[in-house]
């Protein structure tokens, strides 16, 4: 007998150890997210995946799936909350989509479209954040960092380099690199690192290739991010249990 929980009144099967997010995506139900990545341990920081679990707000990427849970996801209250979260991410940084080379490949932008974010919502901070272009192959544009911590996790868990970390607290929290000079060029970072390929926005850029792919032919130009999240969600192999 398969374990199940209810997601928006629909039965979702899960295998022990899966989170609500993993089970939902595998079953074809999209829960919006930014800091969740199927290859890394959940972080629960962006809060986009906030769902109601038995009536209480919780991040879907961290809540373990359990039999009998009643999870609400696609409801107006959460849609409004998620729109505000996306608006706040835009307001905190400098996200100028019209001239951003990652436009069309950006998960924040794609999620904004997906959630129907039609206005700024908040007064933008317009922070002054110079880029770090010191590395020969990688450019860090801190203007676009959304603090998902994926690069931190990738560098630590996969690359074993600890190139990235966070510094500061609260609204002053920001991404730093592990070098006395504060320059990426003075770290062990290389373009082939996993950390250089997980940024969901345009904060970690590979130099000199920015507009090689035409606008209109980019990843989220063709298919909404929600559909892709479902299409590429890890699923347990047939006949196997355990974590995907």
């Amino acid at each position: 007998m398969t374990d199940t929980f209810l997601l928006d009144d629909q039965t979702v099967p899960f295998t022990p150890g899966q989170t609500v997010m993993q089970a939902a995506l595998a079953a074809g139900h999209h829960i919006p997210h930014l800091c969740y990545h199927p290859e890394f341990h959940p972080h629960g920081s962006c809060k986009l995946c906030t769902v109601k679990v038995n009536g209480r707000n919780a991040t879907g990427c961290t809540v373990p799936a359990q039999t009998g849970l009643k999870v609400e996801n696609d409801i107006e209250e959460l849609r409004t909350l998620r729109q505000a979260l996306v608006q706040m991410l835009f307001a905190e940084g400098n996200h100028f989509c019209p001239s951003c080379e990652i436009s069309g490949n950006c998960q924040l932008q794609a999620l904004g479209y997906d959630l129907g974010v039609m206005s700024a919502g908040f007064r933008h901070f317009f922070p002054r954040r110079p880029v770090d272009a010191s590395h020969p192959d990688i450019l860090l544009d801190f203007n676009r960092c959304i603090l998902c911590e994926l690069c931190v996790r990738a560098s630590r868990e996969v690359d074993g380099k600890d190139v990235f970390a966070f510094s500061g607290r609260g609204i002053h929290k920001h991404l730093i690199v592990n070098a006395a000079t504060g320059r990426l060029a003075d770290t062990q970072a290389t373009a082939g690192d996993k950390a250089m390929h997980v940024c969901p926005v345009g904060a970690i850029l590979h130099k000199r290739v920015g507009f090689a792919v035409p606008i209109g032919e980019r990843r989220y130009d063709k298919t909404p991010i929600s559909a892709q999240a479902l299409a590429f969600a890890p699923r347990p192999a047939v006949g196997e249990g355990g974590e995907a």
């Binding site: 001239s99 130099k207 000199r208 090689a212």
Partner: protein, 489 residues
């Protein structure tokens, strides 16, 4: 020269009339006139009241982002900024000779831009003045009025512009703010379907381009005394020419002619623009005033754009446009070629030329090639100069070893024409306003002179159409005596 009208001796004793904003131009500017009790004009200034700051905030950005970012300067001719920046960045990545496909695709994009911009300006913005009269009923002095009274003219204008926009779409990826020009080439070729779609219509565009030239000529023939003198003045001129002296709007050397017809410099490598051009700042305008170094700020200002280009080139390398150029220069002993309103005629010759160039390019199979990018040795300086619809456009960047822009200098077409536009409104003020009671129709004469230059005052805004015309009568102590607001056109 009418430079004496730049600053009145005792402005405190004069009353001020403002045209704010100037309508049916791209961007936002105003004109102020200072008049005495007898309505004699003592001061006339065109003020550019927008501040953009692109030169500053492009600093610190990676160089490959620049061709996309800077085109946000303008919604009317973003292609010109896109390509001027791309040409500059070609130098930065050491791409001193593009592949044939890349250069032709860029040229196609550029001439599509010339076509659509010239059509927009002549048919939508200026033809109401020319077809109905400068002081005609303001209620119909607009493109809607043209569509009602001259439906075929309006239709051709709209469809010419649409065709130019379509050329831009297939080459740049979007009708406005495309991204295809990248440092070292382009990222997209033309598909057969795209090419054939354009080829189907291009012959009609050439035919309509010829009709547009004939229309301006007929306007000159019907109103020669007015058209010959209106806002006219002698000026030095500058533009790009090909190695053989022919008109080339995408690439070439700089040619400048003195107002007496002598040559100031010719085939000057565009990388050396700073040796011949300097910019001056004035307190009453956000737009700088460039001048030829050799002649100084007082006498060194000059004119760019269609009139300068068509009168200075040795030939136009397409047959219909070349024929029209010769007729234009010969008309009434050169009367049209010397007049401010002759800019409209020259502009339509360029529109015709653009349509012919587009046809020739579409017949070239290189457009279908996938050999689109080259690179070479990196260098620090990138200077890209192109002939935008309104005139010579200069983009200059310094890029450091980390690939970040450290310096940016942009001299846009309308900036070159700053003093020339001011001269023109001063001529008009003396010709038509001195001693007369100010009316809306008379003030529109000032705007007609400005519109001849097709200024893009911020080189950014998309404003056209219904902008209100606000007139303020101000006494010598600055008090507002009367304000009139009329619906814009």
């Amino acid at each position: 020269m009418t430079r004496s009208l730049e600053s009145a001796c005792h402005p405190e004793t004069l009353r001020r009339v403002a045209i704010d904003p100037v309508t049916r131009v791209e961007g936002h500017g105003k004109v102020t006139l200072l008049l005495d009790d007898d309505n004699q004009v003592h001061q006339a200034r065109l003020h550019i009241v927008e501040f953009r700051g692109f030169e500053k905030f492009i600093q610190g950005r990676p160089y490959w982002e620049v061709p996309v970012m800077v085109q946000r300067l303008c919604g009317i001719c973003p292609v010109s900024h896109h390509l001027a920046a791309a040409k500059a960045m070609d130098q930065v990545v050491g791409a001193h000779r593009l592949t044939p496909a890349a250069e032709k695709l860029r040229r196609l994009m550029h001439y599509g831009q010339i076509l659509q911009s010239h059509a927009l300006h002549f048919f939508h913005l200026s033809s109401p003045d020319l077809l109905f009269g400068f002081d005609s009923d303001v209620a119909r002095r607009n493109i809607v009025g043209v569509a009602a009274a001259h439906p075929e003219v309006a239709r051709q204008g709209v469809l010419l512009r649409k065709f130019g926009q379509e050329v831009i779409r297939v080459t740049a990826g979007k009708r406005v703010h495309g991204t295809s020009a990248v440092p070292g080439g382009v990222h997209k070729n033309l598909s057969l379907a795209e090419r054939d779609g354009l080829l189907r219509d291009v012959y009609q565009m050439i035919a309509w381009g010829r009709e547009a030239v004939a229309l301006v000529r007929s306007l000159f023939e019907q109103n020669l005394p007015l058209y010959e003198d209106f806002g006219s003045f002698a000026a030095h001129g500058m533009g790009l020419v090909r190695a053989d002296g022919a008109l080339d709007l995408y690439h070439g050397g700089l040619r400048a002619r003195h107002l007496d017809g002598s040559t100031l410099f010719d085939h000057l490598d565009t990388d050396r623009y700073r040796e011949v051009i300097q910019e001056e700042v004035k307190s009453w305008s956000y737009m700088k005033f460039p001048f030829f170094r050799e002649l100084g700020p007082e006498g060194g200002w000059y004119r760019v754009g269609p009139l300068a280009r068509v009168t200075q080139c040795d030939s136009i390398p397409t047959p219909f446009a070349e024929r029209e150029r010769r007729d234009f220069l010969a008309f009434e002993g050169g009367a049209a070629a010397r007049s401010t309103l002759g800019t409209h005629w020259a502009r339509m010759i360029e529109l015709l030329h653009a349509a012919e160039v587009i046809k020739a390019l579409l017949q070239d199979d290189d457009l279908l090639s996938t050999d689109l990018l080259v690179q070479g040795a990196r260098q620090r300086t990138g200077i890209g100069i192109i002939e935008a619809p309104r005139g010579t456009l200069i983009h200059h960047y310094e890029v450091n070893e980390d690939d970040v822009v450290e310096f940016c200098n942009l001299i846009v077409s309308t900036t070159h024409n700053n003093q020339a536009m001011n001269e023109s409104i001063r001529v008009v003020a003396r010709q038509h306003l001195d001693g007369r009671e100010i009316t809306e129709g008379l003030l529109n004469h000032i705007e007609v002179a400005i519109r001849a230059f097709d200024p893009c005052l911020s080189c950014a805004t998309h404003a056209l159409g219904r902008m209100p015309l606000v007139l303020e009568l101000v006494d010598g102590s600055g008090g507002i005596l009367d304000t009139r607001m009329t619906p814009g056109s």
